[in-house]
Subunit: 83 residues, 2 copies
């Protein structure tokens, strides 16, 4: 099980409802690829979205996001984490 | 009080100890700018680091990171968050 942060761009003006809808869409099918989407943060001004997830691979992150209709190529495995 | 995600690049090969040291350095002086650095994640393969923080402004994030010797211009305010 690894952790991932992926980044989406170009979502200027995204609303709270749209972010939640996109996140719930991922969560609805994530189990098919052994993924779990933990959190997502959005900046409506720049249009950036950051998703934190855990699962088996970058490819699994990509598959879930593709199925939800919001693919991104910018996916990082983040094995190091500090609090 | 707002939340921020900032991104550092070019840190290929960063170790767990180096990430912790950098994060502790931020936390040691963050109060001067009313900031709190909550979490940081790193991908040693791509050299990306993501920091999650809360505080008054992007400028405050920038000041703390500059004082710690790891400035970045890539700072996003993330008013939207879902779990």
């Amino acid at each position: 099980m690894a952790k991932f942060i992926d980044v989406h761009s170009g979502m200027k003006g995204i609303t709270s409802e749209q972010l939640l809808e996109a996140h719930r869409k991922d969560q609805a099918t994530e189990a098919r690829d052994g993924m779990h989407f933990l959190k997502a943060w959005a900046d409506p001004t720049s249009g950036k979205i950051f998703c934190l997830s855990e699962g088996p691979s970058r490819e699994a992150v990509m598959k879930v996001h593709e199925r939800s209709g919001h693919p991104t190529a910018e996916i990082y495995e983040v094995p190091l984490e500090v609090t």
